[in-house]
Amino acid sequence: MNLSLEICRFNPEVDREPYFQEFRVEIAGHQTVLDALLEAWRQDPGLSFRRSCRSAICGSCAVAINGTPRLACQTLIRDIAGDNGRITIQPLPHFRQLKDLVVDLEPLFDSLKAVVPWLITRPEHDGHMDPAVSQRMESLSSCILCGICDAAICNPGGTKPAAYVKGLRLAQDTRDVLNEARLRLMQVPPEILKLFIKKMPDVCPKKVKVPEI
């Protein structure tokens, strides 16, 4: 199908503010928005966007598609192209735009540090774990740190949902010294927590569930 991609462009060295540029691309319905972006890139190699695995495991190609934060490689054209064949692609909202679709990821990665995002192993841990405990953590451990939840459920100045997911996973890990004490240390206000629980299933590309605790 013949698509009109409206891509948000911005080069900080030249442009005073972002603007939209239209690209006409020929793409099949079963292909992805990433395929469409790659086609646009062939037309203008100066277009900047991140991508790598093209199978929804690396988290690089998170952008806003028709206003909704999604992974470009995971979004099929037929699911989002309307009758007019027009798709807008913008950088992730609530992230600083550095160039075109590339945003500043440092605040996301920095925010992880606040939850002490590593296992502090109990010295007596013998290598065994209740399979039920392990299974409960599986969904939380499939987070790919793409930033989409942060873009969709912004909690300005507070814990970012991705950091919370990491902290919450460790809070359930029976190998961890802090274990449940992490919940108190993270101090996520109940209303924010409710927001994470409610919104995560709709926004997360890996369907990570924030459990009620």
């Binding site: 966007f49 199978s55 690396c58 290598g127």
Partner: protein, 560 residues
């Protein structure tokens, strides 16, 4: 100028493991062209081989690996790989890896191809992802400096030793020199040299090509793994775990055709054999629509798919529109892994003092002519750790190699002028066109089945493509996130490696593991039980043969 005792290039499993080990005793930094958590290690699905059960044994793992390698793997290195496996798995467990469990709370293990025992530890079918993120968490804990989205451009070699690296910060569009005593290349493979590949866009073999240009010896480049089960069309990987959990391969008649090729191991024969079998079925008219075969998981049941293969189910649904619980998945073989790489010893040491390599970028060689599923993840942590240990030792004992101002200018000058160049006028040729031709050529003529005339033709055409590449005006311009420039450089790496792969394949007049010559269909131990070494000479690549370590297992016929 930035200074670190040890610079690790690459933020995948091998790189992070090397950095975490070296940081115990030295100042380390990680430089990676994408954020570490985006590394392609995260796409690994199946698992890590390690002997844990009492019914299994280290010597069985060693033998399976040697046989899987078609006797080209170095047996001393394979002994290291298999012996250190169990300890590493336990260490990863203590670091926080969420392994899938058996009912007793121990680590669950599954069967992968070519193994005589279910010995792959796994985390559902996102094993690489889970371990990568755990190691990344440990890197945050240790406060190791990361240079994310910085590209290695050139190795600085002075007095025959590593003095540092010339690198490029994509965000600031700036060149920098990083001085180091030891540089560890953990840059992964070159999958993007092939049009049909499971690999990520980032997998362009940068480290191998840059090491080759700096004079390091590469080895066994002609050995390229083609994974049997990738989604037809997109070549998205469908894990060997799908067959490990009991999946069948069927042709258009619904027949489990592996019975003809590997009557004992069936679908769990090694990858080289299964990929050839699939192409043979298609060639002899038993493919579906003449193009692909089916991976049938329908008999496994919804629940098992959800528990053990959730990603496989998801990938099939999204990229092939198939509900794997109800219908078979259309699959075809595609490039997956680089057996060859930068030649190292069992401590990661290359032919250049101060330069180490680990993981897929390296050739130790534990995989020989064909890698077994579950052994590459194991290799990343075993040899990542070893190279980190050795790097810290070198950093503690060796002096700094001097690097004069004049030398710095000499290295910087060509890159400065490349970056300062103007955006080019419209050209008739483009990196996209050259890449398209080169990678299609590799898949078509340097793929699963090879023969002399096709390879000769490929070598000739690759030389023409290199010539076209040389005539391109680099897409210069000092702008941030200049992916056009990176793409141009990456294409240069790919073209260098394509030449080594094709010429290596032409030179090796036998069939062994993943290298199959229609004109020389037999393994020839008399003449070719040897590694292929290659280094850059004045007039192009200079090839030679190197000895294979045979400790306990003399070559035998390889049947499955």
């Amino acid at each position: 100028m930035l200074i670190h005792e040890v610079l690790v290039v690459g933020g995948g499993l091998a790189g992070l493991m090397a950095a975490l080990t070296a940081t115990e005793k030295s100042d380390v930094a990680i430089l990676s062209k994408i954020y570490p958590t985006r590394s392609h290690s995260g796409a690994a699905q199946g698992g890590f081989n390690a002997v844990l059960g009492e019914d299994d044994s280290i010597s069985a793992h060693i033998f399976d690996t040697v046989k899987g390698s078609d006797y080209l793997g170095d047996q001393d290195a394979i002994e290291v790989l298999c012996s250190e496996g169990p300890e590493l798995i336990r260490e990863l467990e203590r670091m926080g890896v969420l392994w899938s469990r058996n009912p007793e709370g121990g680590l669950a293990q599954r069967s992968l191809g070519g193994a005589g025992f279910p010995r792959a530890c796994f985390a559902a079918d996102i094993s690489g992802h889970v371990v990568l993120h755990t190691l990344f968490e440990k890197v945050l804990e240790r406060g190791i400096k990361i240079y994310p989205e910085w590209h290695l451009l050139e190795l600085l070699v002075e007095e025959g030793q590593i003095a540092g690296a010339l690198v490029y910060d994509l965000a600031r569009a700036k060149l920098e020199i990083i001085r180091c005593k030891v540089l560890i290349l953990a840059t992964g493979g070159y999958g993007r040299a092939f049009a049909k590949t499971t690999n990520a866009f980032a997998n362009t073999g940068d480290g191998m090509a840059i090491a080759y240009r700096a004079g390091a010896i590469l080895s066994d480049m002609e050995f390229v793994q083609f994974h049997p089960t990738t989604l037809y069309g997109t070549n998205v990987l469908i894990s060997e775990a799908a067959r490990g959990e009991g999946g069948y391969l069927r042709n258009k008649d619904g027949e489990r055709f592996m019975a003809r090729y590997a009557p004992q191991k069936m679908e769990l024969a090694p990858r080289d054999l299964v990929s050839r079998a699939i192409f043979k079925e298609i060639k002899e008219g038993r493919g579906i629509e003449g193009k692909y075969v089916h991976l049938d998981l329908t008999h496994l049941g919804e629940e098992l798919l959800q528990q053990r293969l959730p990603q496989v189910k998801d990938l099939a649904a999204r990229y092939a529109g198939v509900d794997a619980a109800r219908n078979p998945i259309p699959i075809e073989p595609a490039q997956h892994y680089s057996m060859g790489g930068i030649r190292t010893d069992v401590w990661g040491m290359t032919s250049i003092p101060g330069l180490l390599a680990a993981g897929e970028a390296a050739n130790v060689s534990v995989h020989g002519a064909n890698r077994l599923g579950g052994n590459s993840l194991l290799e990343t942590v075993v040899f990542g750790r070893r190279s980190g240990q050795r790097a810290a030792e070198i950093a503690g004992t060796e002096r700094w190699v001097s690097l004069s101002e004049a030398a710095v200018s000499r290295y910087m000058e060509p890159w400065n002028s490349l970056l300062a160049g103007r955006t080019q006028a419209k050209q008739d040729d483009s990196p996209f066109a050259i890449q398209q031709e080169a990678t299609s050529l590799m898949t078509r003529q340097v793929g699963v089945f090879r023969d002399g005339p096709e390879l000769e033709d490929a070598v000739k055409r690759l030389a023409e493509l290199k010539e076209r590449y040389r005539r391109l005006t680099p897409p210069a311009g000092e702008q941030p996130y200049n992916y056009a420039l990176m793409h141009y450089l990456e294409l240069g790496y790919i073209l260098d490696l394509c030449e080594l792969i094709a010429r290596g394949a032409l030179r090796r007049t036998e069939s062994r593991g993943a290298h199959f010559r229609l004109d020389y269909p037999q393994r020839d131990d008399q003449n070719w039980l040897c590694h292929t070494f290659v280094r850059r000479g004045e007039k192009g690549p200079e090839f030679s043969n190197g000895p294979v370590s045979l400790t306990h297992y003399p070559p035998q016929e390889r049947g499955y």
